[in-house]
Symmetry: C2
Subunit: 507 residues, 2 copies
């Protein structure tokens, strides 16, 4: 009997490993399309991506998968499984259940609806005409509501969606933290706007030759210890990190001659994502657990590096002198403090992905509230532009001049990604909470950063967070690492302290 | 009935299309590994390549494939199929038969034997010790002999192998042409060696900055009309062309600061391969016919561009003045004629892939004769080093100082690729024969090349050769294009004329 179980367990793990091989292929296809696949081949390439996605999808709901899930879940089998296999099984079962509950026909027509919605969204955004997108969005929303009925949910239908990105996250918990965040950030934003001493950002727009920027990015990545034997840096329109496998995690960035800061912080951000994937335990290689535990946790690791280390004063004490040698004229007469303040300047803006650290969470909360309202049947899709603009006025004090820079700016809804946005804000909350613990446990952390000694920080993150991959759920991980559940105080006091300093606000 | 046939035909074509999607994935994985995939991830990547190869392989011998082949081959079905489907079916059936005749167990152990042989060959080559490789090569040869028995063959067992690379090619035909080639080239080589006026090649070794070389390669590819919207140029150790799909055919080259010519002609060579794939008829997209008709024919297209256009005097009349501006010092005092002679200089050398146009076919014939002898049971694997060196002495007048630069230089045998080498020489023969016809049909072709007017040449090649893909077999295609079967006279007179001029030989 034990032999049978062991061999079934191995067969199951091999089956999962093959699914992960499809995933590596899909990630490579994704990377290739964005980093320079010839344009004319993309139409035919799309069919290849379709075939590979379909194959992977078919494996997650196959009769074979059903047998594994049912068989290995039986008590006499389950008790014999290794802890890793149990967790892999749990994930496989969860995915299987999500997919199998939806009638095949509805699933297929949803895929078509998403494709149509994406095309309509592109057109609508280009024309800045919400009415082109609206019927498509309505259809996707209706379909998701029906899916939620098939799946079932606890307390709130929207929870079923949240759970797919940050397992365990609920409306009740988000409402609690986001209310506090709004209550603190909106007044703090006003105080920065009214501050007398504002950062001078004009020098940021000076020309910085792209080749020089590239050199500096490479220099910085080597300083941070990004392993070019297990990754590479390429250029794309939207920067990203993509894990091909546990020893091949690639990042991309962008280069704008007249705004070097955008690409520079994007590189550090993506480095944070990559570091997470590169530090996962060897024993999880080839399993579905070999990735970050949730969307929000992943974002916490990129934000920790980009915002909390990469935009900190100790960091630039070390690197500003070097940076200035890469483009001397631009930084002539700009002191360290001027530089530090400029790259942390705050300004309400229309576009989420261009927002600063202080206004960014407000962009996300706006989207969260809209999604929550939609799935509680309290908001109609046709009213989104109006609601969007009202909330922009309320939270950021500005109203987008058109829907292109408003409700139509993000691709998420057109791809059916409802419940994703909150993860971006959770990233900030997790990051600040983790930072708080890290500062207690690593002595003189600012000194270490100032001396470019990142090893203790990287080791701490690896041992406490990265190594676990998906073996620990986000809730459990956050509790184990920080000793408390989600707590917005850490983000709020971090922001209060940092921006009071930068804007020289009265305490 | 007709509806059933049409729908079965469409299902079959869809099945083939999926196989081609796996092929695109495999080609992308290949390209990625060579152009810059992070080294540390390659171990895990190998498993992904293994899974994808296995999936594609499984599709070619599946029960589903068997049903398609059997069903569609029946007369009442077959008569209703489109000409394209018939040809696709023919290829699928041929592959199915080749694979299915080999007992599954033997196939699996052959895969292991090849993997072991490859590793042993690497080690043997590094140590320049044939004895490390010999037992592995013996095993691969024995296995292939057994496979040939399973497959059956006409006239000569070796024909079964030749047919897999250049369908229809036989020992009788190769013996005939290769005997003539040897009889002509060996004395011609001697005459160049005894010539009083030899090209001065010293300037070729001067430093040519790599960035400048890259710029010139890009310039030249644009001149030739390589479509960067449907391809790209990257750098690899060994240059290659790889079709991802019909509208995405990528090439690679190499850059050596102290030998620009190697990379330059590699780029033109790979351009020739890419042009073939990019010109195949739209209606063959997604079928197994959407590639060159044979290994030898593919090589003919690369050689035509590299050797017969790219190393011709009219070509450099146009481009030498431009080339010299990219690295003025190097070409100072070197006239057009000096340049033309230098890049066509002849010299017997040990390594096939570094050989010139005149000695290259002799390298291939040597390998052909060895393979032929092995499969006729006239040559023992243990005697290869000795036979190799004897033939090198006889054909090229030089003997490799060690097996690394002799019998161990190529990877083909370690990968079980017996019957492949002749295609390289066939490439020369096809190219010269095609060139002969093209020169008759395109008026003032030298003038066109000299004026950088490549369109008529490209159009002629596209219409007569490229567009057909695998719809026409190589024999048929050669006959239709040139009006005669394989004829070595064209290569021999081309070489005689060209090298008599370059070495100022008495006619």
């Amino acid at each position: 009997m034990l032999t049978t179980i062991r061999s079934r367990e191995q067969e199951f793990l091999q089956y999962i490993r093959e699914m992960m091989h499809y995933q590596e292929v899909l990630h490579l296809l994704f990377w290739d399309v964005r980093t320079g696949a010839p344009k004319k081949g993309l139409g035919l390439r799309a069919d290849v991506i379709g075939t590979m996605s379909t194959k992977k999808f078919a494996m997650s709901i196959s009769a074979e998968m059903k047998t594994y899930v049912e068989e290995l879940s039986q008590a006499e089998y389950y008790q014999q499984l290794s802890p890793i296999t149990r967790k892999v099984l749990e994930h496989a079962k969860k995915e299987y259940d999500l997919l199998i509950k939806i009638p095949e026909k509805e699933f297929a027509s949803y895929e078509v609806a998403k494709a149509n919605a994406s095309a309509a969204w592109e057109e609508a955004k280009h024309a800045s005409d919400y009415s082109i997108f609206q019927p498509h969005l309505e259809k996707l929303v209706e379909t998701n509501k029906r899916f939620i009925d098939y799946w079932g949910y606890r307390e709130n239908p929207y929870n079923a969606l949240l759970d797919q990105y940050d397992p365990g996250m609920t409306v009740v918990r988000l409402d609690e933290v986001f209310t506090k965040v709004k209550a603190k950030l909106i007044p703090l934003l006003h105080r920065t706007q009214e501050a007398k001493s504002k950062p001078d950002t004009t020098f940021l727009g000076a020309a910085f030759p792209v080749e020089k920027q590239k050199d500096f990015h490479h220099f910085l990545l080597r300083e941070l210890g990004y392993d070019f034997g297990a990754g590479r840096l390429d250029e794309t329109i939207h920067p990203f990190a993509v894990p091909l496998n546990r020893k091949d995690v690639r990042i991309t960035t962008k280069f704008n001659e007249s705004y070097f800061a955008g690409g520079l912080f994007a590189t550090i951000h993506e480095y944070g994502h990559a570091l997470y994937e590169l530090n996962i335990a060897d024993e999880l290689i080839g399993t579905s657990l070999c990735t970050g535990t949730s969307t929000g946790f992943h974002e916490s690791q990129s934000l920790l590096w980009e915002k909390m280390i990469g935009r900190s004063k100790p960091f630039w004490k070390q690197y500003y002198p070097t940076l200035s040698t890469y483009n001397q004229e631009q930084f002539h007469g700009v002191g360290l403090d001027d530089f530090y303040r400029a790259v942390n300047s705050v300004s309400p803006s229309f576009i989420r992905i261009e927002a600063d650290e202080l206004t960014y969470p407000l962009h996300v909360i706006l989207r969260y509230e809209i999604e929550k309202g939609i799935f509680a049947n309290e908001i109609e899709v046709r009213d989104l532009p109006e609601i969007w603009n009202q909330k922009m006025q309320e939270y950021l004090g500005i109203v987008p001049p058109d829907d292109r820079r408003g409700v139509l700016q993000d691709m998420h809804w057109s791809a059916g990604m409802f419940g994703y946005f909150p993860s971006y804000a959770l990233g900030y909350l997790f990051a600040a909470q983790i930072r708080n613990t890290m500062r207690k446990e690593i002595k003189e952390i600012d000194q270490l950063v100032e001396e470019a000694k990142f090893t203790p920080i990287k080791q701490w993150l690896a041992e406490n967070i990265h190594v676990h991959g998906k073996m620990k759920d986000p809730d459990q991980l956050l509790l184990e690492v920080t000793g408390e559940p989600l707590n917005s105080d850490h983000l709020l006091s971090y922001l209060e302290e940092k921006y009071s300093d930068i804007y020289k606000l009265d305490k």
